[in-house]
């Protein structure tokens, strides 16, 4: 179990800058999610931690040791790939023992370790099968077993759930988190699915265009996004944004005005106001018109058109709305973003 420290990690592929000055610390035994849209550089960062890629600039430390120039095999990491990459010509047993065979571990020791890890993942009766004879969920367990059998210091996971169907994904999600905590292993988990990151991670690092936008616990990331992108990327439906003008504790949006909370009293000028669909009451406030209504059983998502911009609001399912109804929205919790830099004020 190690603490990982990334210092000013930059990676260039030719003219393309995949990562730009990433500083990140991952604590011992922590479950860190690297969250970002596709092409954001999150997988590249994972592969740099694994040692498959070398950073163009910057250093990587495991505890206090500099591993930047160490090859992958000397870093003692386990990696689970998005497509699992099980060797198709090897049985499950051979797949799992492959890392041990390479380390020339004694036969008896191999059997003991395989028994231990397969029992933990409940795949002990699949050892003679070949990867193509397994279901998606089973293949994924084998891939995790292969990563864990060498008792790595760090477990790296590259979107391991994205090839599973929706129901299985939610089931495995909980199991994976439990497993990580049980083993106390430092884990880095790459995903583009914000729900996955919120559900599993101790902390989330949001990455976009090779830059680290925010690092924090799921609560922090959800409640206090430091960048407009973070708010718009996390939550389902994500945060709403409206253009407004702040002046002496009052926020003007189109023809409507709402009072600003205390911490924003000194803000003056053009801003973007963000609020979560859950944190809105229908009553007094911003004027709008109902655009569409989606029923989700216990609650409903009402899309309201405000000055031509769409705002989603989650309200209890018992209220009736018709298209074209005039409503007034009162956000209970808001975040203000700078209009130019899109960072939180």
């Amino acid at each position: 179990m190690v603490r990982i420290r990334l210092e000013n990690i930059t990676k260039e592929f030719g003219d393309f800058k995949a990562l730009d000055g990433i500083d990140l610390e991952i604590e011992e035994g922590e479950f860190m999610a690297l969250l970002g849209p596709s092409g954001s550089g999150k997988s590249t960062l994972l592969y740099i931690i694994a040692g498959i890629y070398k950073p163009t600039k910057g250093r990587i430390y495991f505890d206090d040791g500099d591993v930047t120039d160490l090859p992958p095999k000397d870093r003692n990491v386990g990696l689970v790939f998005q497509n699992w990459a099980l060797y198709p010509h090897m049985s499950v047993f051979e797949n799992i023992t492959f890392p041990l065979e390479l380390r020339k571990v004694a036969k008896g020791e191999i059997r003991r370790k395989v028994a231990e890890v397969t029992e933990m993942l409940k795949i002990e009766n699949l050892l003679d099968r070949y990867p193509w004879q397994l279901s998606g969920g089973q293949q994924q367990r084998v891939a995790i077993a292969r990563a864990l059998v060498k008792e790595p210091d760090v477990l790296l996971l590259d979107e391991p759930l994205s090839n599973l169907d929706a129901l299985l994904r939610i089931e495995v999600r909980a199991e994976l988190k439990r497993l990580q905590k049980k083993l106390g292993i430092t884990a880095v988990y790459v995903t583009h699915d914000q729900a996955e990151a919120l559900a599993m991670a101790d902390r989330i690092a949001v990455i976009k265009d090779g830059r680290l936008l925010q690092v924090g616990t799921p609560e922090e990331i959800y409640e206090r996004p430091r960048h407009k992108f973070v708010g718009g990327f996390i939550g389902n439906p994500p945060m709403n944004f409206l253009n407004g003008f702040a002046d002496r504790g009052i926020l003007r949006i189109g023809k409507s005005t709402i009072p600003l909370p205390k911490e924003y009293e000194s803000v003056r000028g053009e801003v973007i106001v963000g609020f979560r669909p859950h944190d809105v009451e229908i009553g007094e406030g911003i004027e709008g018109e109902v655009y569409s209504v989606e029923h989700l059983g216990r609650e409903q998502i009402v899309t309201v058109s405000v000055e031509g911009e769409m705002v989603k609001v989650i309200v209890p399912g018992d209220r009736r709305f018709e298209f074209g109804d005039k409503v007034r929205l009162k956000p209970k919790k808001i975040v203000l973003f700078d209009k130019k830099t899109e960072t939180a004020i």
């Binding site: 592969y47 992958p72 386990g78 990696l79 492959f98 890392p99 990867p131 060498k150």
Partner: protein, 287 residues
């Protein structure tokens, strides 16, 4: 009901019919060859087929001419052909699996130039190179007669293999290209060296490619006549049949038997290989 399905089925039938008609001359020619080898005279119509095993008996006794005075060891000739064909297949397979991997997976200086050079080399016909290749042969040929025979085998395999290598390397590169990087990364993370990854993970995955390359190289060596006649001191089946067609004692049905024997390994090799060629791996990787 007229729909796209009926239409495509009709055109499919048309395609099949065209293929069948186009292959009739080939099938007919090969059938006549095989039939003639079991007949007293060349089969040109149904009446001329008079069954006999004499041609085959004569062939295996090494009596090539009907007069029976000249005898050759057909087994030795077959063995020579096999040595050349297997030699070429072995050489080409080893070089192209290594070079194909390097060109597909490794970033080194001059990689692009090597690939272009391979294509250009492939475009060179073997006949055009033979003068230069012969000069090299003469310069390096040992004086000792026994050594000379051995060397001629070595040389013909090397020269014929060299002609096959450019295309085979391209072919193998294609097969390696098709394997996702994750397999290789996974092997490296598991603690394998590059060469171990190549041997234990990549090679099993490109098995169909290796087989295809080996097969083509084997057939190239088996059927080659120009290089074999120029360099090899011993005879192979190809040069043997050719010299018999030209001889004044030739008995055509006997040569048909030799021709049929010449065809056999190719057919057998293809029958074995096609199953493995068509069998790919599935599963183990999603995405």
């Amino acid at each position: 009901m007229r729909d796209i399905e009926t239409k495509s089925r009709k055109s499919e039938l048309l395609i099949i019919l065209t293929i069948v008609i186009a292959s009739v001359p080939m099938i007919l020619a090969f059938s006549l060859l095989v039939l003639s080898s079991f007949s007293e005279e060349m089969v040109t119509n149904l009446k001329s087929f008079r069954p006999t095993l004499e041609n085959w008996i004569n062939l295996f006794q090494g009596k090539m001419a009907i007069t029976g005075s000249i005898r050759v060891n057909i087994f030795e000739i077959t063995l020579n052909t096999l040595i050349v064909a297997l030699g070429v297949a072995g050489l080409v397979t080893i070089v192209s699996t290594l070079a194909g991997y390097a060109l597909s997976r490794m970033d080194f200086r001059g990689r692009k130039h090597v690939m272009i050079a391979l294509l250009v080399l492939h475009a060179f016909p073997g006949v055009a190179l033979i003068v230069g290749v012969y000069l090299l042969y003469k310069l390096t040929l040992p004086q000792d007669p026994d050594l000379m025979r051995f060397y001629s085998f070595f040389y013909v395999i090397l020269a014929r293999g060299a002609l096959e290598i450019p295309m085979s390397v391209w072919l193998m590169k294609g097969f390696f290209d098709a394997i996702p990087w994750e397999f290789e990364w996974s092997g490296i993370i598991d603690g394998a060296s590059r060469i171990t990854v190549w041997r234990k993970i990549m090679l099993p995955l490109v098995k169909p490619g290796i087989l295809a390359v080996a097969l083509f190289a084997f057939i190239a060596g088996w059927q080659d006549i120009i290089y074999v006649r120029t360099f090899l001191i011993d005879q192979t089946l190809a040069t043997f049949i050719e010299s018999n067609i030209e001889s004044e004692f030739s008995h055509m049905p006997l040569i048909a038997a030799a021709g049929t024997l010449y065809l056999l390994p190719t057919i057998v090799f293809f029958l074995i290989a096609q199953r493995i060629l068509l069998q790919g791996y599935s599963g183990g990787l999603k995405g």
